[in-house]
């Protein structure tokens, strides 16, 4: 029943707050197959294989500069592997 890394779901749980709404919207816009679920106090975004948080997409919605480090204030948990976290994007995906 092994499923390859490209289709196994990855996801992130984000605190539900005014400030994070732009982040969540940006993730939805960046990841076409993302699914968003609301749970008490938090929002869970999942996607098959790969989930990208893009600085540009967040800044567009926030109307101000946003550094990817700020994502640490929003994230509650994730599943998958943080493949990349640089100035421009955060990528969550499985390795194998």
């Amino acid at each position: 029943m092994s499923v390859d890394a490209a289709s196994r779901p990855v996801g992130v749980d984000i605190q539900e707050s005014e400030q994070n709404r732009a982040v969540i919207e940006a993730i939805e816009a960046t990841n076409a197959d993302a699914t968003v679920n609301h749970m008490p106090g938090m929002v869970r975004v999942t996607a098959p294989g790969r989930l990208v948080v893009s600085r540009e997409a967040v800044e567009e919605r926030l109307g101000r500069e946003w550094e990817t480090h700020e994502f640490q204030l929003a994230i509650i948990s994730y599943f998958g592997h943080i493949k990349e976290w640089d100035d421009d994007e955060i990528v969550i995906a499985w390795d194998h």
Binding site: P40, G41, E59, E65, T68, I76, Y78, D86, D95
Partner: protein, 515 residues
């Protein structure tokens, strides 16, 4: 449309995250010249783990001291703003019910002291791991964990002003029977070597089981009007994503460094999955029984956070290295229909010796449980129906004797067989002439691997019988535990319950209308 900021020109002058990380975190390392490396790092060889190149350790967060402190300070600012508002507005009165706080008593007594212990052990790793990458990640985690301990104590101290059971939690943590379950779990990790600790706490606890442990508490808080706990919980959890990453990087690093590490790591995964899973029995009963307004059942949480995300996601990834799912995972899956019912039934009958209260579940809860567990709950419901009759006849049930404990997880023997789910499971092993008892094959296997360690276990029941817990009767032991009248027992009629009714009767002023 929203304004698009100008492409930040200033960025060009700054170092990129990657460059800053390598300059400020990794480049500050040096090779010792006055002493050999193994004298400087004496603890990273005895466990048999082979590391050839510490620079291969990845840290995707790429944190530097300035970025770390900047964001942590912001997290604390947000939390304390919420705490102030809550205290000023008598926020405790908007909880769903005073009985909700039993979950928080358990959290403060059982979990917050573990945060402090995690702080200590990560401080040790931040000195003793050879590579600067994992040392710095451990330093950050060490500071996070003491922040968690402090903010949890601070947050819950608001309830200590009005409710029983929140005082003396540290004193209790070291002495009380049900708290020896989380305490002995963590002590086992603290007394292991640095790599086993990383797999035990960094990987198994923080990555594999963290969502099962913390998210239910936080969502439960959110659903039951406990804004401060939800806020500290999410504040702590935001650090947790870094801790999960440290755990995952640790395991990948060990597996990639040398094929000889694989069987050692596999054994630790088997052991620590089961150790951690047994501790989650306390969470399972909290979710299904202690929360007045339910969030999700234990079964649902287990399926989502463990079966789908970990078995369906993570272990497929680790299979690449030859790692298999934890040995006793099948038993945990079978137990998901039983665990919370068995755990709460134990706590219900022993809460006269605890610093939280229990009660027969309401009819609404019983119906909800039957919906969630259609195959198994009818059998447990029959127990509660019988107990309701006892209560109606003035005979609320408390066990007067002392239970036998599992030598490894220290939970009273109340779990059942996988193939016969209503028969109590009991295993035992004779080691050097003495018999040791276990709740499960999982716990027995752990003992057989390290009998010399686990025969030293401080089992609360044995200690009482040996006269080490203040005396021979319940009152003596309770006093030695630091418990006060009203901390435990039945919820209905308890001081918390009576105060709650009084405060709410005062608040609605309905008696004024009648005059």
């Amino acid at each position: 449309m929203t304004l698009t900021p100008d492409k930040p020109k200033a960025k060009a002058r700054k170092l990129s995250m990657k460059e800053r990380y390598s300059a400020l975190t990794r480049d500050l390392d040096w090779d010792p010249s006055y002493v050999p490396a193994d004298e400087m790092f004496p603890y990273t060889t005895f466990e048999g783990i082979k590391i050839h190149d510490w620079s291969k350790w990845e840290d995707p967060f790429r944190l530097t001291v300035d970025a770390y402190t900047k964001y942590q300070a912001e997290k604390d600012r947000r939390l304390y703003a919420v705490l102030d508002g809550f205290a000023q507005s008598q926020g405790h009165l908007s909880l769903t019910d005073a009985s909700y706080l039993n979950a928080m008593k358990l959290f403060l007594q059982g979990v917050s002291p573990l945060e402090y212990q995690a702080h200590r052990n990560f401080a040790y790793l931040s000195r003793h791991l050879n590579g600067p990458g994992p040392r710095f990640a451990s330093l950050c985690q060490s500071l996070d964990e003491i922040r968690h301990a402090q903010t949890e104590i601070h947050t819950l101290s608001n309830y200590n002003k009005y409710y029983s059971g929140f005082h003396s939690y540290l004193h209790m943590h070291d002495r009380v029977w049900y708290l020896s379950v989380p305490k002995s779990f963590f002590d086992d990790a603290l007394s292991a070597g640095p790599f086993e600790f990383l797999i035990a706490i960094g990987f198994s606890f923080e990555y594999l089981l963290t969502n099962l442990l913390f998210v239910p508490f936080m969502s439960g808080a959110s659903f039951n009007g406990d804004l401060p706990t939800m806020t500290f919980g999410f504040s702590a959890q935001s650090d947790e994503s870094r801790h999960m990453t440290l755990g995952l990087e640790a395991i990948k690093f060990l597996l990639e460094q040398d094929p000889d590490n694989v069987p050692i790591v596999q054994h630790w995964i088997d052991k620590w999955f089961w150790r951690g899973y047994r501790v989650t029995a306390l969470v399972a009963q909290m979710l299904d029984y202690m929360l007045p307004r339910k969030v999700m059942s234990w079964k649902e949480a287990f399926e989502l956070y463990f079966e789908q995300q970990m078995l369906g996601g993570l272990f497929q990834d680790l299979a690449y290295y030859g790692i298999k799912p934890p040995r006793d995972v099948g038993k945990a899956i079978q137990e998901k229909e039983h665990l919370s019912h068995q755990a709460y039934w134990i706590l219900y009958q022993f809460s006269h010796a605890a610093a939280f209260t229990t009660s027969v579940p309401s009819d609404e809860t019983l119906d909800w449980l039957e919906e969630q567990y259609p195959d198994t709950f009818p059998t447990y419901r029959a127990l509660w129906d019988k107990e309701k009759k006892n209560v109606a006849n003035g005979g609320r049930h408390f066990v007067r004797g002392l239970p036998q404990l599992c030598q490894v997880c220290q939970i009273p023997m109340g779990f059942t067989e996988a193939d016969s789910p209503f028969t109590i499971c009991q295993r035992s092993v004779v080691f050097e002439g003495e018999r040791y008892n276990f709740c499960s094959d999982g716990c027995q296997n752990i003992f057989e691997h390290e009998p010399v360690k686990f025969r030293q276990a401080w089992l609360p029941v044995h200690q009482i019988y040996q006269g080490n817990c203040g005396g021979a009767d319940l009152g003596d032991v309770m006093q030695w535990y630091g418990m006060q009248p009203g901390d435990g027992g039945e919820y209905l009629g308890s001081p918390d319950h009576q105060n709650w009714l009084r405060w709410h009767a005062q608040a609605d002023h309905s008696e004024l209308g009648e005059d």
